[in-house]
Structures are given as structure tokens and as C-alpha cells.
């Protein structure tokens, strides 16, 4: 991963195997870290780097979308991703949900004193690769170092700016009764993958996180932009949190078909075992789309032909009954309410 890393560092970072408080102190060591680690990864190739307090950006076509997200995941590396990829994709995906083409990111690092430089470099390389894949530029950043024990290795904040093409308007306000609800893939992979590493749970077969950019998929979906009413990425709180939020903000009811909701076998098994409901488990590369009923099949086909969608499915409909409530029709025909959780899901006793 870091083979092609260009180390043109005035203070050779090899002298420091770990991050020191001085790396955030504003002096030579900090400059060494910035010029030796961050700039080679993020600076625009072929252009001289001019130190400045701000990135100055060209105006773009369309309206601007602006978002921010912070990433505090433990462990930093997990099957299918790491905190660096997550920090890029997370903010990119938030922009994409507004229909925006992601253009620029900022990165704010909070590093724990004693963090291995190798770990930091792996994360930075990962961010560089993810940004290159999406076609977004990391144009500004900041680094702080805190005393050992005051953060968990690396915390990253990214903010993002994107351009929303004219005529694109994805918002709960456009959701109307009769609309179809789709998901772009099977649910719960990220939450279960991270939990399995964090808690040392072992399952048969690898279960990588679904951590991925949704920008390409949304770009493809713009072909049907007029029919797409609302998008949500299904991160914390999973599908349940996203659809409940849509139902409440749009003032509509949403009915989901439990048997239609795609869940991979290892995720379903882990959830059964731990007493978790996969509807509430986090994803990092899945979205829900509310689309005009007549266009549902078209949007589904667009999703099916895009690699970022895995088993896209129509899972429910928007209704004018019981506004603000999400109902799930179970495999036996019974209905139940999908409720907001009080906090995190807790594995049960037996």
C-alpha cells in the first residue's frame, strides 16, 4: 500500500517511529509531518505547494452541498476497510445523498501521542487511494496531537463540498404516498464486521465491511433524477433509522416487506446469535432510495448494472396511513412497528 509513497521529508520521519506531541506543536517536527506524510499523499501533482491558511477554490456549476462527519472507529483497520477509507467515503456518501458530485474534502486529524507512524501512513495512503477512486480532492487539513490516552489512536474529521446539478432535488419533502422504497444492497455487513473484530467473535467465512463510495452509483441514478425523490445512506442506526427519519420528516407512513429485505447469511446468522436486529445494524456502502412507483423498476435496473449495488431490492412502499410510522410486514403476515432505538443495540443474555 505504501510502496509508492514519496518521502521527501526534511526531518526524516524514520527518526520518529511514533507520533510525538511536538508533531502537533507548530514547529519543525510538525512541518516535517505535513511535508513528509500528508502533502505527498494529498497535494495536487505537478503543482507547487504554497503554504496557506485556506484552500482557495474555483467556483463550480450548480448549487453547493456542504457536509461534515467525524470518524472514531475502533479498531482502525477492519475487514474490508479502515478509518481512512471510511473518512473519505462517509463524507462523499453524505454529499451523494443530496445528489451532489463530490469535489473537495478537508481532513482534520486528531492523533494520539505514541501512535505508530506506520499506522498513520497506512491510514493516509488509504485516504489518498479512496479519494483518487472517487475523484474528490483533499484540499485542506489540520493535525492536532493529544496526550496518550486522550484519544483512541486516530480521530478524523472530514468536511466535503459537492456540486448539485440543476434540477436535482433529493429530499424527504418530495416523498409522496405510493412511492417505492429500494435498498442498494444487503444490510448489516459493516456493523457485524467491526463487531466481530472488536469483540473477537469468530464466524465461519470472512465477512468484510460494505465500506464503499456511493458517489458512482448515485451519479448513475441521476439518469432518473426526476423520479428519485429521496436518498439516505444507511450508516448508524441502519435501515431503520433512515426510513423512520424519512417517514417523520415527510409526514408519511412507510410499509416494508421483511422477507424482501436482503441480508447476507453470515450477517443474519450473527444477528440471530447475538440477539441483534439487522435493520438497525450500521452499513457504510448502502443507500435507501424512495422513488416514484412507476420508475421503481427502472431505478432498480440502474442499480443492478452498477458494481456499488449488491443485491438491490424493492423493499416497501410509502403510504398515507399512520404518518411518521414505519411498519414491517413479517414472513407470517403479521405487522409490527419499526421503532427508533433508545441508544445502541445491546447483545442479549440468552
Amino acid at each position: 500500500m505504501s510502496d509508492d509513497f514519496n518521502l521527501n521529508c526534511p526531518v526524516p520521519i524514520d527518526n520518529h517511529k511514533t507520533v510525538q506531541l511536538a508533531h502537533g506543536g507548530g514547529g519543525r517536527m510538525m512541518r516535517g509531518l505535513v511535508e513528509g506524510t500528508f502533502l505527498p499523499a494529498f497535494a495536487e501533482k505537478g503543482k507547487p505547494f504554497v503554504p496557506h491558511d485556506s484552500a482557495v477554490l474555483e467556483p463550480c456549476d450548480g448549487r453547493l452541498a456542504f457536509t461534515t462527519d467525524s470518524f472514531v472507529i475502533s479498531p482502525l483497520f477492519f475487514p474490508g476497510g479502515d478509518i481512512g477509507r471510511l473518512a473519505v467515503y462517509g463524507t462523499v456518501n453524505d454529499l451523494a445523498m443530496a445528489g451532489a458530485k463530490p469535489l473537495y474534502l478537508s481532513d482534520g486529524f486528531i492523533l494520539e501521542e505514541g501512535l505508530s507512524m506506520e499506522t498513520l501512513r497506512r491510514v493516509v495512503c488509504s485516504m489518498r487511494d479512496a479519494a483518487a477512486e472517487v475523484g474528490v480532492r483533499i484540499v485542506t487539513g489540520d493535525t492536532k496531537v493529544v496526550d496518550r490516552g486522550q484519544c483512541d489512536g486516530i480521530f478524523i474529521n472530514t468536511a466535503g463540498i459537492g456540486a448539485v446539478p440543476d434540477g436535482v432535488e433529493f429530499s424527504p419533502g418530495r416523498v409522496t404516498p405510493g412511492d417505492a422504497v429500494l435498498v442498494s444492497g444487503d444490510l448489516g455487513r459493516h456493523g457485524i464486521a467491526v463487531m466481530s473484530v472488536r469483540e473477537g467473535l469468530e464466524f465461519e467465512g470472512a465477512l468484510p465491511s460494505d465500506c464503499a463510495s456511493l458517489a458512482g452509483l448515485v451519479d448513475a441514478m441521476l439518469a432518473a433524477a426526476a423520479d428519485v425523490h429521496c436518498l439516505r445512506d444507511l450508516t448508524r442506526g441502519g435501515l431503520a433509522a433512515a426510513v423512520i427519519e424519512i417517514a417523520q420528516h415527510a409526514g408519511v407512513g412507510i410499509e416494508l416487506e421483511e422477507s424482501a429485505i436482503p441480508i447476507a447469511e453470515p450477517v443474519a446468522g450473527a444477528c440471530e446469535l447475538l440477539g441483534l436486529d439487522p435493520l438497525y445494524v450500521a452499513n457504510e456502502g448502502r443507500l435507501a432510495a424512495v422513488v416514484r412507483a412507476e420508475a421503481a423498476e427502472v431505478v432498480l435496473e440502474i442499480m443492478q448494472s452498477h458494481p456499488a449495488a449488491q443485491r438491490p431490492t424493492i423493499i416497501g412502499t410509502v403510504t398515507d396511513r399512520h404518518a411518521g410510522v414505519v411498519e414491517l410486514r413479517g414472513p407470517l403476515g403479521g405487522r409490527r412497528i419499526v421503532d427508533e432505538l433508545s441508544g445502541e443495540q445491546m447483545p442479549r443474555i440468552c
Binding site: 440471530e272 411518521g324 413479517g330 407470517l332 409490527r336 433508545s342 443474555i349 440468552c350
Partner: protein
């Protein structure tokens, strides 16, 4: 998913419901003992599929819900000690004690960890010789063998920094308590399949005989529960009061002798307070004298802590099937999963939490809760 989907099959469920309908000639009240069964009944709306004359009463089989508030207070006192790493299954962290819960202790700097097995706590004790590692041993007969094994293991490894706060409870004395109440409505029981997997069914025979009630050891999937109800209704209609096994893929009449032996080696039956119900004779487990040094309550001198239940909480009546959760005046208003008054609103298996989660909002004819009226 193999071994799950088969037991959620809609066609087979319909057939069982039909069989229950054609067997039933009068009203019957059947109690499902286990919180896991309550959860499945509400999640799959099984109670709505059953004929109106069959009433399911939700029993006291949620170990989180019946743990008395004073044991939670003891756990909180121990977890707050600076030298302690307090390990618990996730469900217990949000259960309110008199003043706070274990999550609050964690936020105040206490070392509170969620573990998935008591053996994780034993391993933690091995890795942290300078700390006291305490495991919150709660649950019915299902979790008792693994918790007993953890104590045996700690003893073998000579881990003097490991101890357990024991709050184990037993099912048969609870069934006896429900049946002995003058207000009892229950005419038949679905016993908890996983408990019977450990204990077998012999302990239930004297109860069935003495009180004249059928008891069916039942599983947790929709078809298990419907078949358990059918077996129970058949007995009721035929005037029989036998102990039967529906959950044959897991329960053997003799149970799991090795697991029972481990429980008996480490624990002995003692009187135990149940949240909302009060003390039930010989309904709990405590460490035997041989393992007394692993008793966290003794080690940290918290035996003296006592506490009263919040007066407004009707958990006792809910846990004995006398009232439904939504019949409580505080339900969904002063008592919610965010601010629970009592434990049945906290645990995912608690009857109040299940009603809150699946049956709360009534805002139109299509709402499942409204249709029940």
C-alpha cells in the same frame, strides 16, 4: 437461513393456527414463560393469528427484568470501585438501579465492559492481575452452567482477582409462585425450551400434577410457539395435565446431565427476591461454601445494600400476567426505553419493551395496535 427459515414458514404456520382453531372449544389462558418467546410472539404478531379465545399471558422469564433493584445497586456499587473491571452481558447496562445504571457508572469513569461469555471475564482477570474482575452472573438455568464453569476455571487457574455477583434465578419455583397466587389466571404453560435443554423436564412433573396444569417445553421460533400452543390446548381440551416436549430438537427428558452437574458443583438453591414479585422460596442460586471466596457481594461488602422498587411500576403484575404492559398508566409516557421505570421496559426481552417497540403507535385503522382494540 437454514434451521431458521423452516420455522418461520407461513404455510405451516397457517396450518397450525387452523389446527388450534379447530381444537379450541372454550377460552384458555396460556402463559409463555420465557421473554424470548414473548419477543417472538410480538415480533411475528403470533397472538393476533391465534383464535380470540386463546389468550397468551407473558410470564416472568426475562432474567434482566426479574433481577431486583438492590442487586443492580450492588452491581453499581462494585462497578464504581476504582480497582474493579465489571463485566456484564449487554442487556444489564441500561437497567436502572435506585439512582443510576451501569452505563452511567461507565460514563463516570468506572470500568464497565460488555462481554459475550463469562470466559471472556476469566481471560480478562488473567490479563489484569492488578485489577479485580467481577462478572455479573445473571440468567436462568440456561446461563448458569457457563457461569459455573467460569468459576471452576478461575479456581483451576488460581485467579484470586476474579469474582461473580450472582443473581441467578430458577424457573420451576416461579411457575409455582404464579400458580399459587389467589389471582392466578394461567391454565397452561409453555415452558422455556432452552432452560429445559439444561434441566430436562422432570422438575415440572410435580407442578403439573399438583396444580393440574399442562406444561409444554417449547422453542422460540414462530412454528415452535404455535405448535406448543396447539399441544397445550389439546391437553386442556382433553382434560390432561402432562409435561410434554415440543422443542424435541433441543430438549431431552433428562436435560444435559454434564451441565446440571456443573451447576450443582458450584451453586446451591437459595431464596431469592424477584423484581416486582418479592421473595420466592428456593428460586435463586448462590455459590456453595467451596466457592464462597469468588462471591463478589462478600468480597466488596455490598451485602447490606437494600432498595425499594419504584412505586409506580407495575412490573410485578405484568410479570405474573395480571396486567398487560399497555394497561400501565406510565406506559409510553413516564416509562419509556429512554427513561425506564422498571426493568421490563429495558431488556429487549422485557414484555413492556416488546409492547413499546412493536405495538405503541395507534394512528389509524391499518395500525397493528389499533386493530387489536
Amino acid at each position: 437461513m437454514k434451521y431458521i427459515d423452516e420455522y418461520r414458514d407461513a404455510v405451516a404456520a397457517k396450518k397450525l393456527v387452523e389446527a388450534i382453531r379447530s381444537t379450541t372449544t372454550r377460552p384458555w389462558n396460556i402463559m409463555e414463560v420465557c421473554g424470548g418467546q414473548t419477543h417472538a410472539i410480538l415480533r411475528f404478531a403470533l397472538d393476533e393469528m391465534l383464535p380470540g379465545r386463546i389468550t397468551l399471558i407473558h410470564g416472568p422469564g426475562c432474567p434482566v427484568c426479574v433481577t431486583p433493584i438492590e442487586i443492580i445497586d450492588k452491581a453499581i456499587a462494585i462497578a464504581s470501585l476504582p480497582e474493579v473491571i465489571f463485566c456484564s452481558f449487554g442487556d444489564m447496562l441500561r437497567v436502572p438501579g435506585s439512582e443510576k445504571d451501569l452505563l452511567t457508572v461507565k460514563s463516570e469513569g468506572g470500568r464497565v465492559r460488555v462481554v459475550y461469555s463469562p470466559m471472556d471475564a476469566v481471560a480478562l482477570a488473567g490479563k489484569n492481575p492488578d485489577r479485580e474482575v467481577v462478572f455479573f452472573a445473571i440468567g436462568f438455568e440456561t446461563t448458569a452452567p457457563a457461569n459455573a464453569m467460569a468459576v471452576v476455571q478461575a479456581s483451576k487457574l488460581g485467579l484470586d482477582n476474579f469474582s461473580v455477583l450472582v443473581a441467578h434465578v430458577l424457573v420451576p419455583p416461579a411457575i409455582r409462585a404464579v400458580l399459587s397466587s389467589p389471582e392466578n389466571l394461567v391454565q397452561g404453560f409453555l415452558a422455556a425450551g432452552h432452560v429445559c435443554t439444561i434441566t430436562g423436564i422432570d422438575q415440572y412433573r410435580p407442578i403439573a400434577e399438583e396444580f393440574g396444569v399442562p406444561i409444554v417445553a417449547t422453542g422460540f421460533e414462530p412454528l415452535d410457539i404455535l405448535q406448543g400452543v396447539l399441544m397445550c390446548v389439546r391437553q386442556l381440551e382433553e382434560g390432561r395435565a402432562d409435561v410434554e416436549i415440543q422443542y424435541t430438537r433441543s430438549v431431552r427428558p433428562e436435560g444435559n446431565p454434564a451441565a446440571r452437574k456443573t451447576i450443582e458443583e458450584v451453586f446451591e438453591p437459595v431464596p431469592r427476591k424477584w423484581r416486582g414479585i418479592g421473595e420466592i422460596p428456593m428460586s435463586g442460586l448462590a455459590l456453595r461454601e467451596k466457592y464462597a471466596k469468588y462471591d463478589a457481594a462478600g468480597r466488596f461488602s455490598v451485602e447490606g445494600i437494600t432498595a425499594d422498587e419504584p412505586a409506580e411500576c407495575i412490573a410485578g403484575e405484568v410479570l405474573q400476567g395480571r396486567r398487560k404492559p399497555h394497561e400501565c398508566p406510565a406506559f409510553g409516557t413516564r416509562c419509556t426505553p429512554d427513561r425506564p421505570l422498571g426493568a421490563p421496559m429495558v431488556s429487549s426481552e422485557g414484555a413492556c419493551a416488546a409492547y413499546y417497540r412493536y405495538r405503541r403507535k395507534c394512528s389509524g385503522r391499518a395500525c397493528p395496535a389499533c386493530r387489536r382494540k
